[in-house]
């Protein structure tokens, strides 16, 4: 009772503040209006979309563009409404004519399709903004996907896209309503799409994004449809499956059929708007489609989040262990206790697919550990948690330390916490961390996590599945490092072994993944596609090497990649990169020692290398210097060129033993 009175009083005063703000804005007092809007927004954790839009507009008028971008991005989190997204997308369009948004990366996207894709094309940058990607979109003409993709001189290709989005619908399929030879029919249609992909791939550096075909709810065979292979319904199902299979590494799939089912097919297919203006996706579903498409693009651009950081009390179990005790917390059984178990089980599935888990909680460490070790209903075990930050420090400090221990950026972290105050603190002090707003009811936790899109990734590789183990080993190694008497004995204690070998077909997907996403330890950040990498592999004028590292704690898998060009007695390093999880292990020296020996075999006595600075790769700016290279050139953009004379002395590494492949 008391609560509801307070609430209505609050909203009444908020309404008064909003009215005053509106008047101030009308009278041209934008700064005053902004103050009042922000005051109204401060009374809730996630301000409603209309208010976010108003605040963004004020910032736009006052030319504080970064804040305008930030408030527009918030619309994405609080609304799925077509009107809100239209307004925010339009606002973003105007804003980007004056300023570029602060972003983790930027990317030119070309959209080509089989229906009216204008709404999708205008909403993609908004969805991208939320994920930290500055997407500039070129939209092809209506329903021209075949011409756009087949004609090498098309305007689509001329826009020089890094990603090409093929946004198509079921109506674009060249499948009959019934076929006596469905397998041949599906194979022929699959070939048509994979041929389009091949053409698109050669023009898009970072790859192709393909929408699958949502199944129409209008199935003349009714419940027989799925069981009759010759029905268009069954053929479309089969084709979707084949597209997933054929996509491989160079094509990213957005599963529209799943989205349509989640949204409700009867609403997804809005025939009135199809006949009226060729909208194959109901306008109300376009924000969702834009959100998912942008998430897949962000993954392709190497922005997938890596680590889920979990709070404990009222997040993994109900109650406060420090007060309620081991027996008093709600976990297992029925009701809320069961919801916490379901949440933990989903978290475990995320871990299985490569998401690293960490804990950040204000608690007595012994109390917290006891739950993991002794509570019979706990699904998560201490083994599953790579970093366990349980203490009385503030969340941002714990989050920073987790990132440090794992050797990843703070922008690779995602926090799941039940406490709105903690979430606000993290949003304000560590905006790079993504925060999942868990709902009030534990029953909604699993859904909130499953609908979070930051963990979308390009592909699941065997490395992903064992990543958690490796990161835990890394955290153990970090502890070892602080106790080791000196760094050399630390390296020796690890008993590291490496296999260095040329690229091969089997490892090409993992190599392409590293080339596509490595930001920090990357000397030139050249994003070669898989086709290019394959051509280097078979070329006589290139040296390609990958390195697999293991130590006594873990097998780290394939962690470093090098490509060199061989010409006139010189091996020039085109690409040299390393996974950030093995930084500080002397892997770089092992790789170059190997390359040096290899170069001599080829009759080359000189190594050359280039450092191209980016926002992320400061860590390797002095790498060549540290390895004994001599600087031979520098330009105004910070690009430096380096040389190493192998005849003066060979490159050595005493800490990593090289095994024969």
């Amino acid at each position: 009772m008391r609560e509801s009175t307070t609430k209505s009083k609050e909203s009444a005063s908020t309404t008064a503040v909003l009215d005053a703000a509106g008047r101030a804005e009308c009278e041209g007092h934008v700064e005053r209006a902004l103050e009042l809007y922000v005051e109204a927004a401060a009374s809730v954790e996630l301000p409603p979309a209309d208010l976010c839009l108003k605040i963004a507009r004020c910032h736009d008028r006052l030319a504080s563009y970064d804040q305008a971008f930030e408030w527009l991005a918030r619309v994405v989190d609080v609304s799925d409404s077509f009107l809100h997204w239209s307004a925010a997308a339009a606002a973003l369009g105007r804003l980007t004519m004056r300023a570029r948004p602060p972003a983790r990366t930027s990317c030119r996207v070309a959209v080509t399709g089989s229906y009216t894709t204008s709404q999708l094309a205008s909403m993609l940058p908004l969805a991208g903004l939320r994920l930290g990607v500055d997407l500039s979109v070129h939209e092809g003409l209506y329903a021209q996907y075949q011409q756009d993709l087949i004609d090498p001189s098309s305007a689509l290709y001329a826009s020089d896209p890094k990603l090409i989005l093929i946004a198509v619908h079921e109506g674009a399929l060249q499948l009959p309503s019934f076929s006596e030879t469905p397998e041949a029919e599906v194979a022929r249609e699959l070939r048509r799409w994979t041929e389009l992909w091949e053409r698109a791939s050669s023009h898009a550096g970072a790859g192709v994004v393909q929408h699958t075909f949502a199944l129409r709810p209008d199935a003349p065979l009714g419940h027989l449809s799925g069981g009759v292979p010759g029905s268009r319904y069954a053929m479309t199902e089969a084709l979707n499956r084949e597209l997933h299979r054929a996509a491989g590494e160079s094509v990213a799939i957005v599963d529209c059929d799943r989205l349509a089912a989640d949204f409700g097919r009867l609403r997804w297919f809005d025939d009135r708007y199809w006949f009226r203006s060729k909208q194959a996706v109901a306008l109300e579903a376009v924000p969702m489609l834009a959100r998912h498409t942008a998430a897949v693009m962000a993954a392709r651009l190497g922005l997938a989040r890596k680590c889920l950081v979990l709070d404990l009390d009222n997040t993994l179990w109900g109650g406060v262990v420090g007060e309620d005790g081991l027996e008093g917390i709600a976990l297992g059984g029925e009701g809320a206790g069961e919801a916490f178990v379901a949440f933990q089980e989903y978290i475990l599935e995320l871990k299985e697919r490569g998401v690293i888990l960490a804990v950040a909680s204000k608690n007595n460490e012994a109390d917290a550990r006891e739950v993991f070790e002794r509570h019979p209903e706990m699904r998560l075990r201490l083994d599953d948690i790579s970093v366990f930050e349980v203490n009385w420090e503030d969340k941002p400090a714990s989050l920073r330390r987790i990132a440090e221990t794992l050797g990843i950026g703070v922008d690779a972290l995602v926090l799941a916490d039940d406490n709105p105050a903690e979430r606000q603190l993290v949003r304000r002090l560590l905006p790079e961390v993504d925060v999942i707003a868990l709902p009030q009811e534990p029953a909604g936790y699993r859904r909130a996590l499953s609908q979070y899109l930051g963990f979308e990734s390009v592909a699941i590789t065997a490395e992903d599945r064992s990543r958690s183990v490796q990161y835990r080993a890394r955290a153990a190694a970090a502890e070892l490092r602080s106790s080791a008497a000196d760094i050399e004995s630390f390296y020796r204690d690890l008993r590291m072994q490496a296999i260095v070998a040329p690229f091969d077909e089997l490892r090409l997907p993992r190599i392409a993944q590293l080339v596509g996403k490595t930001n920090q330890f990357n000397l030139t950040t050249r994003r070669h596609g898989i086709a290019e990498l394959r051509s280097f592999m078979t070329s006589d004028s290139h040296v390609t090497r990958h390195l697999e590292l293991s130590d006594r704690l873990a097998n780290h898998g394939l962690v470093a990649v090098l490509i060199g060009t061989v010409e006139d007695g010189v091996v020039d390093i085109d690409t040299f990169l390393m996974s950030c999880r093995v930084i500080g292990r002397t892997v770089e020296a092992r790789m170059l020692a190997h390359l040096g020996a290899e170069a001599e075999q080829l009759g080359c006595h000189t190594l050359q290398g280039t450092y191209v600075p980016t926002a992320k790769n400061q860590i390797v700016s002095d790498l060549y210097e540290r390895l004994g290279f001599r600087q031979i050139d520098a330009d105004g953009d910070g690009v430096t060129r380096w040389e190493y004379d192998l005849r003066v002395r060979p490159i050595v590494n005493d800490f990593i033993e090289e095994l024969r492949a």
Binding site: F82, S118, R276
Partner: protein
């Protein structure tokens, strides 16, 4: 200003991202910058959603000006 008029203006301001946009009864699509066929679809979709009505094909394009659309909405809302 009628309530219907005010809500229409709000939708138009969203769709055209222009908060100073003022609709009068005699405003026609041609009077508003950016009111092309695509924007019309977005606008009318917004109107259908906001008022919980559905326009027939003829109604979708049939009105002359904002006043016409308001009368159409009044009729539809009266029919319940």
């Amino acid at each position: 200003m009628s309530e219907i008029h005010e809500r229409l203006q709000q939708i138009a301001r969203s769709v055209f991202y222009d908060d100073s946009l003022v609709l009068t009864e005699s405003t026609k699509a041609a009077d508003v910058a950016g009111w092309d066929s695509l924007a019309h679809v977005n606008f009318m979709y917004g109107v259908e959603n906001e008022f919980g009505v559905q326009f027939s094909e003829a109604e979708f394009l049939g009105f002359e000006d904002v006043g016409g659309l308001e009368r159409l909405l009044e009729e539809k809302l009266a029919q319940g």
